[in-house]
Symmetry: D2
Subunit: 430 residues, 4 copies
């Protein structure tokens, strides 16, 4: 792997052509995004979503790998207890090899939704008729937009690629939320030949027509499923005979939250799920809870992780309750290298995609793409995670989340420009 950093020069002819192509995608981008929005699926369950993507790309000239072939038999973390048919075999990758020497470039978008009940009333998706049709599941992070952008970029760059160098991989990643899919994709080997990786995220506080390329502070994270098993007892006849898994779970949850406070950057802890008990008159025998931790630096995450594991185990023991901690997903921390930020900024200037570029941005959250980027970097490649501005109706992961759809065309233009520049489309005669 001896490729030099990507160059951001694009001829003005190519830039013009990209702009025209992106403009032509506008209506379809919005339609696709709304279609994804109306049909959200949780991580590892993006069955219809994947089918729609595969169908969309079917006659596009890309090689498509999907279904069980995509991730093979690598471990998938965080599947449901009773997986639905097809669960875990979601997501896909579209590949185009120019046949000429050059870098392998991978653009990643993610496609999963969240277990949130979408707002109604004035909430735009509801008012305009594309709200979630699946109760309790919602695209409230913008992955519907990411998937639509991925498809548009596939269409925009396809005609240009025959004049480029190297190989393109368009990755439609499943199960980003909770940091589960990235590791499976990397373990399946899809990053092993990638020289240049990039991923995008809409919104995150960056306003419409702005973008952040010098992104740092993408947090490392880790999550655990905790299972507690006490002893049931008749709550009226013999409460003292029980070992109460519900109360153990409550003390664990409260105590873990008191451990989160830190002077170290990006430290976070959340107990996101807790379920305990079976009937009102039985001392609860079983409880489960799931928590995640985040930190900017891996060493800090590991220190917190060690404390939390000790805390959970000892508190369970205090209540006379058996405990198991099962690691769930997790993502590495990441910060874009300077050269990658400069490259993206150059392409943005050349294409005119976003009017304003933030000098730098502290991400302050986790992003499963960091696991993919880290894997590429570990092998000597380069990686970037870019935040593309979009005004929001409400915070990510809330029922009223929505984003300014004008961001879609701009994003598709930028991404197409990044690919064109990295694959040297400009310098090769048609």
């Amino acid at each position: 792997m001896i490729h030099s950093p990507p160059q951001s020069q694009l001829s003005s002819d190519l830039s013009d052509r990209l702009r025209r192509l992106a403009e032509a995608e506008d209506a379809r981008l919005i339609a696709d995004r709304r279609s994804f929005h109306a049909n959200p699926e949780l991580g590892w369950q993006e069955i219809e979503t994947t089918a729609a993507i595969v169908k969309n790309l079917s006659r596009s000239g890309y090689e498509i790998v999907a279904g069980p072939a995509f991730l093979g038999d690598v471990e998938r973390r965080g599947l449901s207890k009773d997986p639905i048919p097809g669960e875990g075999d979601t997501g896909c990758i579209a590949i185009y090899d120019t046949g000429r020497p050059g870098p392998t470039v991978c653009m990643r978008v993610d496609i999963d939704a969240l277990p949130i009940k979408e707002a109604t009333g004035n909430h735009a998706p509801a008012a305009q008729g594309f709200a979630s049709r699946k109760p309790g599941v919602m695209h409230s992070c913008g992955h519907d937009g990411h998937a639509a952008i991925g498809l548009a970029v596939a269409r925009i760059v396809k005609p240009l690629l025959k004049g480029g160098r190297g190989k393109l991989k368009l990755l439609f990643q499943p199960a980003e939320e909770g940091g589960r899919g990235g590791r499976a994709v990397a373990d399946a080997g899809w990053m092993d030949d990638v020289d240049l990786f990039f991923a995008i995220h809409l919104g995150l506080g960056v306003p419409s027509d702005s973008a952040a390329f010098a992104v740092h502070g993408i947090l490392a994270n880790a999550r655990y499923d905790v299972r507690l098993k006490g002893r049931a007892a008749h709550a009226g006849k013999s409460p003292e005979a029980g070992r109460n898994a519900l109360l153990a779970a409550c003390q664990i949850s409260l105590g873990l939250h008191t451990l989160a406070q830190s002077s170290r950057p990006g430290m976070r802890l959340n107990v996101g799920l807790l379920n305990a008990g079976t009937a009102v008159n039985i001392v609860p025998e079983e409880a489960t809870l799931t928590f995640e931790m985040r930190a900017q630096e891996t060493a800090d995450l590991q220190a917190l992780e060690a404390r939390c594991k000790d805390f959970v185990e000892a508190t369970a023991r205090a209540h006379g309750v058996e405990v198991s901690l099962v690691p769930g997903g997790g993502a590495d921390g990441y910060a874009n290298p300077e050269e990658i930020a400069e490259w993206a900024q150059g392409v943005n200037t050349a294409t005119g995609a976003f009017g304003t570029v933030l000098p730098d941005m502290f991400f302050g959250a986790s992003e499963d793409a960091a696991t993919l980027a880290s894997r590429v970097v570990a092998r000597g490649g380069r990686g970037g995670i870019f935040v593309l501005g979009a005004d929001l109706a409400d915070d990510h992961h809330t029922p009223n989340f929505d984003f300014d759809e004008k961001a879609l065309q701009k994003s598709a233009l930028l991404c197409a420009g990044l690919i064109a520049s990295a694959m040297d489309v400009d310098h090769v005669e048609d």
Copy 2:
């Protein structure tokens, strides 16, 4: 309602006949009990159980009221959020009117199971092939035996009743656990003409071949469903924007349990169910929990209830979380009147059902029959709740619960004797 207390005299001829009839029922009692055990259904969902009872009694000469006609449109507390078809229209009553003046006598058995996963291995029902076929649902309180006894009693007394006085009601009550069905039955008016009510419970620490008639300390109880609604937020990006319903639920659960300690008799509190959160990386917006309180005396229960409601509401407010408390089921407290204990003891002596009678017994738990008995007493009738001995493999409401099936025949004999004596079967020529 001017009937005098029931008399326990039974002629020795009648006692002999009852004993022969009960002995003849033994194999069927055990078979019925095992069939119910293998097919447990939760409260308000005893659909197959009710169908089996109705079918069993169908050509018996009793008038059977079941289905929507049984409870009409009275309120059913504690139905599922998404009730299954038929839910709430379970249980039934079998009626026989002698046509002669005399008391209306009601014997109640209950028929529902519990959300417990039955043990395997050496656990007798598993070893002998009649363990629950429904994962996570189990007859771990003995209601399978109660239902079988109810059917046997129906068969035993039927031929005798034409020589008796008054009216017999054999009540197969749904949803006893959680104290939900009793109130619905009473509200539907089935107790309005009852002069003498009795219910039975197997086990409860009373050994095989013993029985307790002078039962007191049946606890009053009340339960609440608590719903908490906070505000979701991205746990990594903006935890401070959330209002954490999970942590509120944890502090409520722990705090409620600290309120239970009391010098007053029979005070108990249990948070039996807690569910919170939707995803590991979202500050939990919603949580639900269910708790129950018990006390020997109604005034104590009300005092605890008032404290608990205040506690829940204020703690939710502390976390910035909205709260609603929905009352679930509940049962009255009860103690058998002396005359009723004496009557039952006399019948026991006459029939020779149980070899030993406990001088008295502190029940120390709730029993939905108390609501029915209280309703009868409030109208001037009489009521008793009897505990019939059966050695247990493990405590009620635990996965290894099982009881000595020898108790079935003894119980059926006693109950048939109680009915025969109350309805004066002995004194009327055939």
Copy 3:
């Protein structure tokens, strides 16, 4: 030790004489009680109280053992961290030996006060000028009355004893609260020759002019001092470096209280003291807490004790905090033997002390006298703890506690009668 149970016969002459003597004590009883009330001292610190008792008895003809000679070098539990001069060498015993063969009889009264701030306003001791002069310390359990009764009984029986048999020990016990002094007294050997022991307690819900002799349900108890040592840290600069002993103490306290609920009789748990931290901007390094447990039966107490110790240790470990548990005081459980209740009831009838005798009484709390009585019983002697009625202004251990002083004379009369009958005063010529 072959003495038969005490006989309750008293000649009517002797009864009359006792009544006259008790009546003559009335004013002094009230004055003494008020003096003790105004000068309360905590357990092991009853220095002025002991001095007043010793002075009072100094020319009475009793042998007085007080100061370091009283308890010698036996272990005193629950001394202050920084004991004041004289602490632990409090209490005393007054002895009279008739020189004639007969039983050794011990009457115990207790003399310590509580760390409660006495009420003001209409509260009788305040309104009548004998409220506590020591801020934050108060006789709110009635031991002021007990001490006064002890002195009156000493005076009443003294002239009679020369005509009796055996030996009398009047024990003024220190540090009853928290169950600390009883064990020290027993360990010092003062019970080793006692054939008949009795102690009294005023109030406890028994109304004026009533008394309870058939007392059962005196609870066993145990207490622990918990010391937690974590790690200090600057709360602003590096909270993650701390190991927070305060939060550990909070989770321990809440969790312990959730363990108290039980179907077993008399189970109680209380965390009575908690102190943690040194400054608002330091992660608290140290915390201490003290808790007690009670149960009617020793086996239950031991089971709860084992759970609580495990709970404390594991929860401390969860917080990364070192912990030590130091056993504090404790008392045995007790129930008066029937023959002792009958004896006291007979003496009460003979003397006419209390108009009404309760058929039985569940004590429902601990009483350090149980440790003394148990020690006597273990050696083959007999013991009783009697509750002497007194209407109360408010509960024991509250700032408004006060009792009906009419109980003093009645109590002194009864106690003198008990001694007279046990020591056979009646049968010996003057």
Copy 4:
């Protein structure tokens, strides 16, 4: 107030002279520091410390204001419940007026210690014989060094000042810990004529021979004393009659700590003190706790403050306990203006005090000097808070804290240079 920013030019002659003067102070600096270290006093109780400072400066030519005259009758927050004689009238100010027009310059040092038990063994102050002689009180933040530096600076600059312009105020501030003294000093008017204010702090992670002038992220903070009043009850006889202030305090403490987590910069919360209960067998009636909050931005602090107040009040109500929240001390947030950082850096270069200057430093804690600096800035003046490097044996606020005493001379040199430059000493002939 029209003074231009301070200029950092110092003639090389003056710089040389300052260096020589500072070198000459070295032994005395160390001796003074050790003397203060051995005799630590808590905030508002720096009685001996103030006396030593006043004595030290008594014949120095400065006007000294100390005792009640220093702070007059302005409110002192955070005095002890039972203040010792002289408490609150500590600290002093030394003033020298050149008589020539020019700025009023104020240098602040702080003088209070912390409630920490100093380490023994190898800990240098212990090994070298200057450990705290006051059990449980320790200079574990470096204020002993600050006070010594203040005295040295007074001596160094005194001979130079007659050639300067304006007025010098050397402030020896009491009660810095907890943010109490700064506000009192400001309220007493001592900042009202100050044009240029600066304060110093040793250590804080800056290594020996380094200094940070471009300091930002000095956190705003606020603290509250919480008093809870429930209802006492006999823990054995009637626990249900109590309203448990201890358990309320525990739930408040745990809950507050769960509110601290935030994406906003510098957010912190600490419950530093908790005291509850009076005796092991009484349901605790009273509890007190003290907590502080910090944030980089005042709006964030106010938002957290509002949540915390609501939380405390509602949780107390949940337990049926009365509550009062009394605001304690607090400090403003602060960041040094660029011009002030440049001035100090220039003086450092000229004097050669510290070899390395950090490009910038995030302070990440509170500093009471921020309240003084903010007051000066609000009136149009300028202020700076500088961190002067010193290697540490352990973290601030821990028992093993100690600092490299080589920092003392360097600090005195820098501070003297700052004063000399600000008061234009260089431009006036001796």
